[in-house]
């Protein structure tokens, strides 16, 4: 039996998670504590890196204490530590990596510097158990929009597509601003969209032409199209619910159509959707519909596990330990542009 501590600070959430790995390879969630600085970023309409980094420094030790209290564990119970070393905001990553190294040295346990995107995929194993491979992961959040082929959670992940401009969550934030809805834009747009007509306005589906990159995404044109539509309408009142519903439909349509097609292309029978945007009601609904029609098993962890947290990094750590992957050196550094193919450093 092995206790693994996970630390995550790649963006605006300070996450500390604890999991237990048993001899059979099963991973059990023991604690998942998150301190978010999202409210401090709201008036800026997006994450301010320096504000996020300051908040991580303040929150690190208190969040760690809360996680151990919640799990009823002592620090000396920890057998290994996993920390996000990329991709993410440089200054934010540095706080988590520095803390993780100090904890690893103090406790005399191995440290795994690991990939945040792989962590998002690993989060699902905390809810739905071992992940069949190969599987396809659709990661959608304010920072990333990617299609990943997972042949082994600890050993082999390949990016087969990504956004060429804005992340899906970023488009939500920008459209929310156009519609005078609060930041972050995901929840208020989802709420408005549920009251609106998704077919009211035909917004463009980016990169869906016959010659466009098959597995890549683009949301910049969609965001601009929404702004243009709203501006053309002004000063008439804006039908916010219909705009939100039509925008959300365009996002969910492209994401699910491309993800399902990639599964079919690659002969993959399981799809995982994770990241903050995975909490979106229409994305989940449409993905479920299209996966069922294509005979694909869909797995979406609960929203709490989809957003950035330490539990996902602890879960990834459990897979690294179980796979016998070599631990990182204590001079590891954060890599803001760590490619997903590098699962641990």
């Amino acid at each position: 039996m092995t206790i693994i501590l996970g630390i995550e600070t790649s963006c605006d959430e300070t996450g500390v998670g604890l999991v237990r790995l048993d001899g059979s390879g099963a991973v059990e969630l023991l604690a998942d504590e998150v301190a978010s600085s999202v409210e401090q970023h709201a008036r800026f309409g997006g994450v301010v890196p320096e504000v996020a980094s300051r908040a991580h420094l303040e929150a690190m030790v208190p969040t760690m204490r809360r996680a151990f209290d919640a799990a009823g564990l002592k620090m000396s119970d920890v057998d290994a530590i996993t920390v996000t070393c990329g991709p993410g905001l440089a200054g934010a990553l540095l706080v988590g990596v520095s803390a993780a190294k100090a904890y690893a040295l103090s406790l005399g346990v191995p440290l795994y510097g690991a990939n945040h995107l792989a962590g998002h995929v690993a989060a699902d194993t905390l809810e739905h158990g071992p992940l069949p491979t190969p599987c396809l992961a659709l990661l959608v959040s304010g920072g990333h929009t990617q299609l990943l082929k997972v042949d082994g959670l600890a050993t082999s992940i390949t990016e087969i597509g990504s956004t060429i401009d804005d992340a899906a969550g970023e488009a939500y934030d920008k459209v929310a601003r156009v519609l005078d809805l609060p930041y972050p834009g995901g929840p208020p747009i989802d709420a408005a969209a549920r009251r609106g007509n998704p077919r009211a306005i035909a917004f463009p589906r980016g990169l869906t032409g016959p010659r466009d990159a098959r597995n890549d995404f683009s949301f910049s044109g969609l965001k601009t199209a929404v702004a243009r539509w709203v501006e053309a309408r002004e000063p008439e009142p804006i039908p916010v619910d219909d705009v939100a519903a039509s925008f959300q439909e365009a996002v969910a349509d492209v994401l699910t159509a491309k993800a399902v097609r990639a599964c079919v292309d690659e002969g993959i029978g399981t799809m995982v959707i994770s990241g903050g945007v995975a909490a979106n009601s229409r994305l989940k609904e449409l993905a479920a519909e299209r996966c069922a029609a294509a005979g694909i098993t869909l797995r979406v962890p609960r929203p709490r596990l989809c957003t950035d947290n330490g539990a996902m990094m602890a879960a990834l750590g459990a897979h690294l330990v179980a796979a016998g992957v070599e631990a990182s050196s204590l001079d590891l550094s954060a890599d803001p542009a760590l490619p997903v193919s590098t699962i641990s450093v």
């Binding site: 980094s53 760690m64 706080v95 803390a99 100090a102 103090s106 702004a227």
Partner: protein, 215 residues
């Protein structure tokens, strides 16, 4: 009393193992001057300094940490490391103004201490002959530094203040521990580990949304 001292408020990545009693005696130290390596090197420096001193973390009675002022990113690497070490080991972490640590290394005459704040500004403070801080810490352009009584300047060589420049250029383990010595020996609970940023984050609240359509 065995003390671990760390500081990352300047381009130096500093860790030292120091014995404190009637005197302050440095058993081992590791210092690398590289403004981009704080996150990478601090923990290895702690490990290596302890090994050279023939001690382990379990032998450490207290930690002293420079809390700036310093350019933000590097400063946090040392502070979060010190906080984590203190938490994991169950030992107190004593904050020290990093400029005070430079001053504590060279008592005896009124002193100006200056470090690099980037953006053509400096962090600075002044000290009397007893090593007591008389002004600062501040952040300002070098031309606005006001140190009428100082006879020497210590810290970074960034500007000609018309005073002889003396060592150290960065906080040293001996200086960090000397600056915290009274607090360490008093046995009192240390104050909060709060960084001295002296500047607000660069962030602008967005104005009215720009139109995307041509008028």
């Amino acid at each position: 009393m065995l003390v671990l001292a760390v500081d990352t408020a300047t381009p130096a990545v500093t860790a030292g193992v120091v014995q404190v009693g009637d005197t302050v005696r440095v058993l081992a130290e590791r210092v690398t001057v590289d403004a981009k390596a704080h996150g990478e090197l601090l923990t290895p420096h702690v490990r290596d300094a302890l090994a050279e001193a023939g001690r382990t973390l379990a032998d450490v009675d207290a930690i002293v940490c420079g809390v700036g002022p310093g350019p933000f990113t590097g400063l946090r690497a040392g502070m979060v490391s010190a906080g984590a070490l203190g938490h994991a080991l169950g030992r107190p972490v004593h904050p020290v103004c990093s400029l005070d640590a430079i001053a504590a290394a060279v008592p005896g005459e009124p002193l100006l201490v200056v470090t690099d704040a980037r953006r053509r500004e400096v962090y600075w403070a002044t000290y009397d002959a007893m090593g007591v801080r008389t002004d600062g810490p501040h952040v300002s352009p070098p031309a606005e530094v006001n140190a009428p009584h100082a006879t020497r300047v210590a810290g970074a060589d960034l500007h000609d203040f018309g005073l002889p420049l003396i060592e150290p250029a960065h906080p040293t383990p001996a200086g960090l521990v000397a600056a915290a010595r009274a607090a360490l020996l008093s046995g009192a609970e240390p104050g909060p580990l709060t960084p001295l940023y002296l500047r607000r984050p660069d962030a602008v609240v967005p104005g009215a949304r720009k139109r995307v359509s041509r008028a």
